[in-house]
């Protein structure tokens, strides 16, 4: 990434901020849960066992069982997979479409900028969740439509961040120098703009990831996300709704999992922002 050291904004902090560490630890926890679920879960997360229904925490069932006798811990592990998958794909879509669009707008200016940024504004006017609900209603509820919808809803964020970063970079001396030496636009974008806005974009990724996780949970809660019986944290939360008075822990576990993931990605985002933001570091 730092092929051109002179052009990269330096960080004056040596030690990572505590928020970054805590965030990274929480994210790692979620990633580990997802990875473990590929090789091992205590029980089959979709296998009902009516005889063992609604049990509390025990050695056999770490987080108890739900109304169908399914092991909640297995469901949480497996659910991490869905959460990460949705987050990755959604952020990936937004990153791959939004960032180039933003850079293009920032470098070209004029009509290109106007059109693409107004389009982003229009998209921004619809909350990502609303777009997702619309998608779910039209194409049917599934993990894929949820990922697509959340991804599309996150594009404007990336486009704006990339554009504002690009505008800053474009007014620096080294870009002027590059222009003067008649380097092509594509080369400038790749060698000067992209490395310099990378930090901002990474922060945007992390924050968008947190939003995507929350959106997926909300969609599944509404029955527009991952269809049953595949465990998803949002739906586990929704299914435990009626047991709030009698078995509150059923809601606590998926709620906690969602909180950990969202907090983790948000903290990482905050930590990275502190690290990259030149103003906060007293740099340039």
């Amino acid at each position: 990434m730092t092929t051109q050291p002179a052009a990269v904004v330096r960080s004056t902090r040596r030690r990572p901020a505590p928020t970054l560490l805590i965030g990274a630890a929480l994210v790692l926890l979620v990633v580990l849960a997802a990875l473990i679920s590929f090789v091992w879960t205590p029980y089959d997360p979709v296998q009902a066992a009516p005889a063992d229904r609604l049990q509390g925490s025990s050695a056999a069932h770490l987080m108890g069982t739900d109304r169908y006798g399914r092991d909640v811990f297995s469901g949480i592990l497996y659910g991490a997979r869905i959460t990460l998958l949705v987050g990755l794909v959604a952020v990936g879509i937004a990153l791959l479409i939004g960032t180039p669009l933003g850079i293009l707008a920032g470098m070209r200016g004029g009509a290109v900028e106007e059109v693409s940024m107004r389009a982003a504004d229009i998209l921004l006017a619809f909350p990502a969740l609303l777009v997702a609900i619309m998608f779910g209603a039209v194409f049917g509820a599934s993990t894929t439509t949820a990922m697509l919808a959340i991804g599309i809803g996150s594009i404007p964020g990336f486009a704006r961040v990339a554009r504002s970063g690009t505008l800053q970079v474009m007014s620096t001396e080294y870009v002027l120098a590059a222009k003067a030496s008649s380097q092509g636009a594509f080369r400038i974008a790749r060698r000067h703009v992209l490395p310099n806005i990378a930090g901002m974009v990474v922060v945007q990724c992390s924050v968008s990831f947190a939003i995507a996780v929350l959106a997926e949970a909300a969609l599944s809660f509404l029955g527009l996300g991952t269809p049953p019986p595949v465990p998803s944290w949002g739906r586990m939360l929704q299914e435990s709704q009626q047991f709030l008075g009698t078995y509150p822990m059923l809601a606590v576990w998926p709620g906690l999992a969602i909180a950990v993931a969202v907090l983790g990605f948000n903290l990482v985002g905050d930590g990275l922002r502190d690290k990259f933001d030149p103003k906060l570091n007293g740099g340039r």
């Binding site: 296998q47 169908y68 009626q242 009698t246």
Partner: protein, 504 residues
């Protein structure tokens, strides 16, 4: 002078406003303990669109009006038996085609008109006319003629003998109307029942007031209010806070445990006419093969479905007939839970490792049932993929109308609906009725004993063919203040009969 007139008008308006407030204050004070004995508030979900069940479908209208505002010649009691109501007695001719009803004297409509044999003729013929547009009107097709013999005697001649007809006369098609009271059925309900509609606050409640000139015994309370809520959680919250006294047909059994352990409340579990039907499209592969359908029947542990999906509330009967029907029979032994047998049947049918789509309507019972069903089907090698369909619009269109589905699950609520479901090959279940068509017609035409026996055979055939898997009979759950008495726990017809509700 002019200004005086104005003043007079203002005064009148003011006086009117004051008297309105006074009324409201009066109604509000009914919450005091003594006054409470005179009124009861019942929480329901799903408000009527209007008050006219002759043109508008939906269970909410007859639920509020039948037995309370409208009455029929007969009524269906809590055990599903036919009892006299506006008819004191009746005789059936030897050819079982002519019913002669002797009507009760002194019954009056709430508009003051006396109830006579002419009203019976008017009401029955009105069902047959174009005034009724409900699909239920076909239940009156069997009537050939209605003859008025005297003011209190009326004769109904049927085209062919029918056992189902007299039962239907106890449901909404048998409601008795007055010729002068049908002009504005959507907003005004005039019947012979013990209550009249006092007020209808749209979006909130219907208030029923007891009539002074009712022909029978006065109901237990002066005012009965039906309050409509968005969902089950809201109804139980209202009960807990004392805003309502009874929650009828509660749809969230998981919420019950806190009421069961509290002496201030009572929880009643009655039966209903609702069957949770796991439907398999009999006309499409793979469920056009009877062995595959039978495999599903063996693969599903119905008691486990009730226990997990509906907290143990509901009756497992193994067939499409609720216990309150005269031809009820416990058929649990036909398809015991036997995954090994199921696998064997699938192997025979060459349908191992089957992939199917399970279209699940967005109703609480359906989503709850679907997950356990999918898990149990997986154990015998049927991989069911859940596809949720918005209810009612999408589900009705895709499954019910276009028959574009493999497996689905829905609550069938109509009373005595076995033949409606299975004696019609164009119904969404697609069951080939050639085996039961004649037997069903014969049963309906024979005497009562022959009817029950004949229908039992019909039901047996349907179950042997595994036409659909009836998972359980939906419970009618009632949660109420412990001091409320006379709640009709069994929901046998559409009606919620408020007449016996009172306080200890």
């Amino acid at each position: 002078m002019r200004s005086n007139k104005k003043f007079g008008l203002a005064a009148a308006v003011l006086a009117g406003a004051l008297s309105l407030t006074a009324c409201n204050a009066g109604a509000g004070s009914s919450a005091s303990p003594e006054a409470q004995q005179d009124s009861v508030t019942v929480a329901l979900t799903g408000e009527p669109v209007n008050l006219d069940f002759t043109t508008t479908a939906g269970a909410a209208i007859p639920q509020a009006l039948m037995s309370n505002v409208y009455e029929g010649l007969v009524e269906i009691d809590q055990e599903g038996k036919i009892q006299p109501l506006l008819a004191e007695s009746w005789e059936l001719s030897d050819d079982r085609k002519t019913y002669t009803f002797k009507l009760r004297e002194g019954a009056k409509f709430s508009n003051g008109e006396p109830f006579t044999a002419e009203d019976v003729k008017f009401s029955i013929e009105r069902v047959q006319s174009d005034e009724w547009v409900s699909s239920l009107k076909s239940k009156m097709d069997v009537v050939d003629a209605v003859n008025v013999l005297s003011d209190t005697e009326v004769e109904v001649v049927l085209k062919q003998p029918s056992n189902a007809w007299l039962f239907d006369m106890g449901t909404l098609v048998g409601a008795m109307f007055d010729p002068s009271g049908v002009d504005d059925l959507a907003n005004t309900a005039i019947g012979t029942g013990p209550y009249t509609i006092e007020a209808w606050n749209r979006g909130q409640s219907i208030e029923l007031a007891a009539r002074d000139d009712y022909w029978g015994e006065k109901p237990g309370v002066e005012t009965a209010t039906l309050r409509y809520f968005a969902d089950a959680v809201a109804t139980t919250n209202a009960l807990q806070s004392g805003d309502v006294d009874v929650v009828y047909n509660m749809q969230a059994p998981e919420l019950l445990s806190s009421f069961e352990s509290n002496d201030k409340f009572q929880v009643l579990e009655g039966t209903s006419n609702g069957e949770i039907v796991l439907s398999m499209n009999n006309k499409e592969a793979p469920f056009d093969d009877v062995r595959v359908r039978q495999a599903v029947m063996h693969a599903i542990d119905r008691q486990a479905v009730v226990d997990t999906a509906w907290n143990g509330y509901g009756t497992v009967v193994g067939g499409p007939v609720p216990p309150t029907d005269p031809y009820f029979e416990d058929l649990n032994d036909v398809y015991p839970y036997d995954p090994a047998k199921a696998k064997e049947l699938l192997k025979e049918a060459g349908a191992e490792n089957l992939d199917i789509t399970f279209t699940v309507p967005t109703r609480p019972y359906a989503t709850a049932v679907s997950e356990i069903v999918v898990s149990q089907l997986a154990e015998v090698g049927i991989n069911a993929k859940i596809e949720s369909a918005e209810f009612p619009a999408v589900w009705l269109d895709q499954v019910f109308t276009k028959h574009d589905y493999q497996m689905s699950v829905v609550l069938a609520v109509e009373s005595r609906d076995v033949l409606a479901m299975f004696n019609n090959p164009d119904y969404y279940l697609g069951y080939d009725n050639s085996k039961i068509k004649d037997a069903a017609a014969k049963a309906d035409a024979s005497d009562e004993a022959g009817y029950a026996a004949g229908m039992k055979d019909v039901v047996r055939t349907i179950v042997d063919d595994a036409a659909a898997d009836v998972l359980f009979i939906f419970p009618n759950i009632v949660v109420a203040d412990a001091k409320v008495t006379g709640i009709p726990a069994n929901s046998v017809t559409e009606a919620l009969d408020l007449t016996n509700i009172g306080w200890k």
